[in-house]
Homo-oligomer: 608 residues x 2
Amino acid sequence: MFRSHTCGELRLDNAGTEVTLAGWVQTVRKFGAITFVDLRDRYGITQLYFNEDLNPQLDAEPLGREFVLQATGKVIERSNKNPNLPTGEIEILVQSFTILNKSAVPPFSIQDDTDGGDDVRMKYRYLDLRRNVIKKNLELRYAVNRATRDYLHGQGFMDIETPFLIKSTPEGARDFVVPSRMNEGQFYALPQSPQTFKQLLMVSGYDRYYQIVKCFRDEDLRADRQPEFTQIDCEMAFVEQEDILVMFEGLIKSIFKQVKGIDYADAVERITWEDAMWHYGNDKPDIRFGMKVANLKSAFNKGGEIVATGELINGADFKVFDEAETVLAIAVPGAAEWSRKQTDELTEWVKRPQIGMKGLAFIKCNADGTYKSSIDKFYSEEKLAAIAQFANAKAGDLILILAGAEERTRKAISDLRLELGERMGLRKKDEFRLLWVMDFPLFEYAEEENRWVARHHPFTSPKPDHIQTMIMNDPFIMSAVDYLKHPYATIKANAYDMVLNGNEIGGGSIRIYQRELQEKMFAALGMTEEEALHKFGFLLGAFEYGAPPHGGIAFGFDRLCAILGGSESIRDFIAFPKNNSGRDVMLDAPATIDEKQLKELSIRLSEL
Amino acid sequence: MFRSHTCGELRLDNAGTEVTLAGWVQTVRKFGAITFVDLRDRYGITQLYFNEDLNPQLDAEPLGREFVLQATGKVIERSNKNPNLPTGEIEILVQSFTILNKSAVPPFSIQDDTDGGDDVRMKYRYLDLRRNVIKKNLELRYAVNRATRDYLHGQGFMDIETPFLIKSTPEGARDFVVPSRMNEGQFYALPQSPQTFKQLLMVSGYDRYYQIVKCFRDEDLRADRQPEFTQIDCEMAFVEQEDILVMFEGLIKSIFKQVKGIDYADAVERITWEDAMWHYGNDKPDIRFGMKVANLKSAFNKGGEIVATGELINGADFKVFDEAETVLAIAVPGAAEWSRKQTDELTEWVKRPQIGMKGLAFIKCNADGTYKSSIDKFYSEEKLAAIAQFANAKAGDLILILAGAEERTRKAISDLRLELGERMGLRKKDEFRLLWVMDFPLFEYAEEENRWVARHHPFTSPKPDHIQTMIMNDPFIMSAVDYLKHPYATIKANAYDMVLNGNEIGGGSIRIYQRELQEKMFAALGMTEEEALHKFGFLLGAFEYGAPPHGGIAFGFDRLCAILGGSESIRDFIAFPKNNSGRDVMLDAPATIDEKQLKELSIRLSEL
């Protein structure tokens, strides 16, 4: 061992002990004949004190930043203590030292507020990983890993490894493929998730499975997407939806406790997908703050009760509202006092192309009970009061109203709500609010192909009382414009997402476990019988030999870690991430390969 | 939840309780109006008792093997107890039941001694996985996984994920490659091991790293090799070889304890590679039994002492020994009494093409102190006595002698020793003996290319006092015949293998951490400077910025599990293995892919 202690563990109690430390030179400071070195390792920083006796050696072998140094000496009390450092009460009076390895001058400073840009830090990722901020992220990631395994182990789950070289079944996302040398002209695919394998394990009787596992998707990379990413993948047999919700609330709460020391005592709230869309304009609402969306126009049939009919705004001869498909409002608490400049700025904000609205109407609910509005030409004080009441606005609030086509307006009000939450400090980084979003539609309409696609995946079960609707109706869509009138549009799935602070951190479903229903699902998605057999014959086969009821969930491990670490970027929580073109700039990969390799694989490059 | 209890947990204490179980029908037995069903799940088997009231339902919906059944009833004491079953004292008096799913008749029986052949079991792997023997294997695998993580976590190791889409660096084994769609004409490679990444993590300061990780090698598959396999991959910084040996003995002992309940109190024996080759003919000796090899001819210079000079056998005018490069003997304890038929059979055994020897000489060391030998025409009683003494034979032992070319004879005596150990019951499945084999040669000679290759890998450090030999000598091999005279042939590595019961379960080394030495190593392996930079520029770069001394080890996780499970075959310890052609016969993968996929990847198939 090159050291007797780490650079993080010595305290005043150790004074007088002879120790050997090894680590990296963080700083070298000379005061006359005396030299101080901050020596850094994974565990901390300890100050080394070189007195003048060592100057001949220091002159002969000068120390530099990031040199690897081994030093032996005595722990002594510091005269000038540093209360910000756990080791700040002591230093090492160095008796001898050895430079274990030199370092060139690093291309950026190894500090929290580094001077290195993104590109250079990615190229020298091994240096970037030395920075304390990144180290803390990877430590947090490991803590989440450990907490996950501890909880699931305690609940009887087994980690079972599923294969990486599998079969390409192009559904949804694109597969990465791997040419097989031994099976000429054939390819493996890398798994987008172990979905079918974990279902087979349920058929095999391993009723509680989990894995923390790499998955692969060859998608055009948006910011903060990685071609390889990690999932906490779980499946259970002989369970109903409720069992899964309870089990995995438990997982996340246990992670909160073990990793962040947070007791999440509250019950996890639940909302249907439909309510989420109506009340937040969004299927992953951030419920750390209110400002729910009020729908001033479209009839919303909620359990037989019509929530809005448009009567609040109709008949006022205000064309913008009259002609709009949707009119949505939020009440911003305490914002009635906002200046003209502020509301103008917000108007500009919603008119930006990313949001794409034509304008923003507002109603100020003054403290004295009066109203002032950008639309009071059209609406009487009584009307404004009625709108305010409907939008749950109180005296002192500012009501913001957007109008336009349904989908765009809904997204805009959601973006506006989040932006205001951000600006008003309501999205606190140290506050964590979980939410189950449930009862998703089973199908989505794919416009380009005029067919149904699975909203979650083709293995998700419809709600039991919607199975008949699926079985009894032909998936064929007669009129693309009226696709919403097709019975399939009403089918809800036994699917659920877990949302944390406005981010989807996991999603799952109860699965189909009957061959006939699974075949109907494949047919609904436009697969011929032959295709279904070619791609998923093994699963259909398995369902013939006693498949139990089962369901599961998968959490996006990278994102979960990022959110727990208070960051938006998953890349900072991955040791060796790829850039937005899917390149590892440190390795310089992908790269060309030898002609010999291509030949062995029986493939050629297309002429470029 | 579809059950209140599992099929493995009910005992006599539970009598009187109303319970609901769910599982698979193992057997259905009818006795007159009464029906017994053994219901099976992951946790065990419980007997269900259907009385005549249920016969109408049983007649309407007959139960069959592997049906998924949910049954509610009362726990009652069994009249006819089964002491072989943990639940054997009770049964469930069924009040109601539901068939959750039917099953076709399985293609083989779901029993320990199944009637299914290898092919059909692989095709229906999801049914094979239901068998108790396979389930026990996967449970053992998970227990080893868990024990590994517990130990390493306790020692301050961090699980850090390394990437799967990396760069192809064809050294040694062949890479699997992955065409990149976004980077036309370029390919990722799947890692053969995270070797360079774990070294970078050491450079980054994460001084204790581990991962249980999938690795990939596109090799022609021998029996019991898999294209994807799992490693326990570990690395430490600021350590010397001794620190690593102690740390990972601790890991394996901890696995023994946690998984098998074995206290492995003995110190782990150590042997140099040279001694292993001479005393066992093998670099992974099984030390559960003795029968060490005696080398009757070649001078063996062991630390200055010549161990054998050939004087025992020379000058007797026995041409077979005189002309042989090597003459090796083992003494089989208590075998002097073996019949002529037995020694003849052994002679046939060594003459088989797999062994390839021309014959077998023997010396019986009779109980009365006399000797009888197949070669006593040439050797006097005194000479035989001297040979017997040298071979450590006692009265009652049988000495077996093989002669021939060195490499073949050495391998043959090793095979013979293992075969005899097997036949004599000395290789006990429940005995575990660990051994470190150390001081491997740094280089191996590659005959076809007349150059040096790395025996372990190009990142392994020479022993400190051999570094000069490497630096001061040109790798060029003037005469292929005399390659053993090249100074490189004498260089030993700081490398070590852990051997368990004659199987290499892990191997590692102290790594090179200086750029100059690493460059010299790449040059020694015949890489040009340009090639070295193209392939490993990132590592050479990292070594310039303060790389600490480091080393590590990787264990073959699949094999470790198989040995702990008392099996030779790793395939039985992998949930979804591939066959010897690298195919997953259940999935029918690899498979052809769409023309559209090929086009997107800018590749074409070669004309076949």
